[in-house]
Symmetry: C2
Subunit: 358 residues, 2 copies
Amino acid sequence: MTDPLPTDSVIGILGGGQLGRMLSVAASRLGYRCHIFEPAANPPAAHVAETVTNAPYDDAAALADFAACVDVITYEFENIPTSALDLLESRRPIRPGREALRVSQDRLTEKTFLNDLGLQTAPFADIPDLASLREALDRIGTPAILKTRRFGYDGKGQVRIDADTDPAAALSELADAPAILEGFVSFSHEISVIAARGLSGDVACFDPGENVHRDGILRTTTVPARLSSAQRTDAILIASRILEAMDYVGVMGVELFVTPRGLVVNEIAPRVHNSGHWTQQGCTVDQFEQHIRAIAGWPLGDGRRHADVVMENLIGHDLDRLPDLARQPDTAIHLYGKAEARPGRKMGHINRVIRPTP
Amino acid sequence: MTDPLPTDSVIGILGGGQLGRMLSVAASRLGYRCHIFEPAANPPAAHVAETVTNAPYDDAAALADFAACVDVITYEFENIPTSALDLLESRRPIRPGREALRVSQDRLTEKTFLNDLGLQTAPFADIPDLASLREALDRIGTPAILKTRRFGYDGKGQVRIDADTDPAAALSELADAPAILEGFVSFSHEISVIAARGLSGDVACFDPGENVHRDGILRTTTVPARLSSAQRTDAILIASRILEAMDYVGVMGVELFVTPRGLVVNEIAPRVHNSGHWTQQGCTVDQFEQHIRAIAGWPLGDGRRHADVVMENLIGHDLDRLPDLARQPDTAIHLYGKAEARPGRKMGHINRVIRPTP
């Protein structure tokens, strides 16, 4: 095993949202300082990071300066422009590496990659044009979802297609971006595994959590998820297989549908994940520190949970509930320091500790 | 109750050491940004704070600018020069308030204050000169400790006096600073109570921890402390009485000796305290967040612990043990980001979670 990054090194983080913010705090616990690169003004991570570069991803000089100031680079979101990655990668290690980004930046590449590993996904088809959409609808049926291949999140860049939807109209809603059609999967519930792989190849998974979404946005994650012991093992084996296949370094979120035919991979995210926030109260080493440990060459923390937890996102005006929430015992509050509470905007989350795990 | 400080407000913290660092992280969880005022270069808190003013406490312009940028002021250490406090207090609320600082900045005032509340302390005497020292030694006996009245910490500014010690030599070791003589207390062990009082007068105490010192520096705190149920109640009543008497707002550390004649107050610290670091792994709301809640007008968090914890300070080259510590399960690591590991310097701490509390 190589030596870990010396404490007092600087970790560069692409993206200054709440994930970057909580990564920076975790890095501080291991003695590291963080430098955030973020195009938007006043990013949440800036409140708890030593240095912030406020510049767009096409500012080559700013990227080069950023790279010169840091020892290793990681990111809080997967949609980083390729040109920025090319520049940064030539100067500093980027962890997780390019393969993880190549796969997860494109829904078509991702689903193909997963199927090639022998893992189940929803049925899907590449949609370069209207003819291929009509053909795919014949094969996959309705309802189905037409999605842009790249740069989608929280339900954006998606159109539902029912039996009476005009395929041409659906395609034009995506403004002719390269698209993929995905069939529906009939599932009882969705779970996710927050998995980590260290620089020396060790793997640790947190217990699977059960996710509830509303309006395309995660609302709650409950740990433990409703799973048989065999399903739990399957979930962890699937996540581990994905990490190994990518020679991955860092934390990954793997969303899975629980179906009668087994677990179906919904989506992977090559970063810390909203459905892993429960680890802040449930585990000694949370997902944020686990990610920093991985990319800095530390041994991974033990993934076992010591408490059952329900994580609930605080979205938009959920913040009005704070006076009540602050009075509830066993409720940990995590706010992101965003000034404006817009509808649909993630403003914070709470972790309710249900009971100690025996 | 008044409304809490709006999220996105700025909390000013005097002192940028590890306590300021962990306060800043806790403040971020409640949506606040922190502005650190610290004379020394590259303070640990700067790594996780939005703004840092690097200036001495006699720089009136820097203090005024600092006050103008913040909504409320708190501190990580009690030895803030009076002139700085006078300037700041005229512009922004300082919490905990001046009474707490007046009492705790001077060992003689503190012990007198405690006795006036009906609380036991070590026997003590004011030592303005050599004659009073000789007189006090006749009354209190040896061994005893001669201490400067102000600005002592971690065993500094102290001289032990035994039967064969020359009183004049001892006094000159303190360079004629105003002094106090303290007798020894025969105790079985030392505990501390981390107590908090909110802006609306509510009080919450964490479970007492048991402290072990070596060379005048705290080494470990173990929770729960060895105490009878009556002793535990006494400890919490003593701490609460001190908070009430000062109309205190914030977290206070109260160190107590356990003796056959009951609990004897050793020392109070009007701030978060090293012996309260265990709360980071033992409680849903830790001492740092509790302090921020108090000074920002939030309801206090529940002080109950959900796990037994042993906190151990990492001092100087204890950092060499990190590779081993990182591999131990149930061990949370907290480093302070200090570049140089000098002997006696607190570099970090670990919290070992012993077992969930039923």
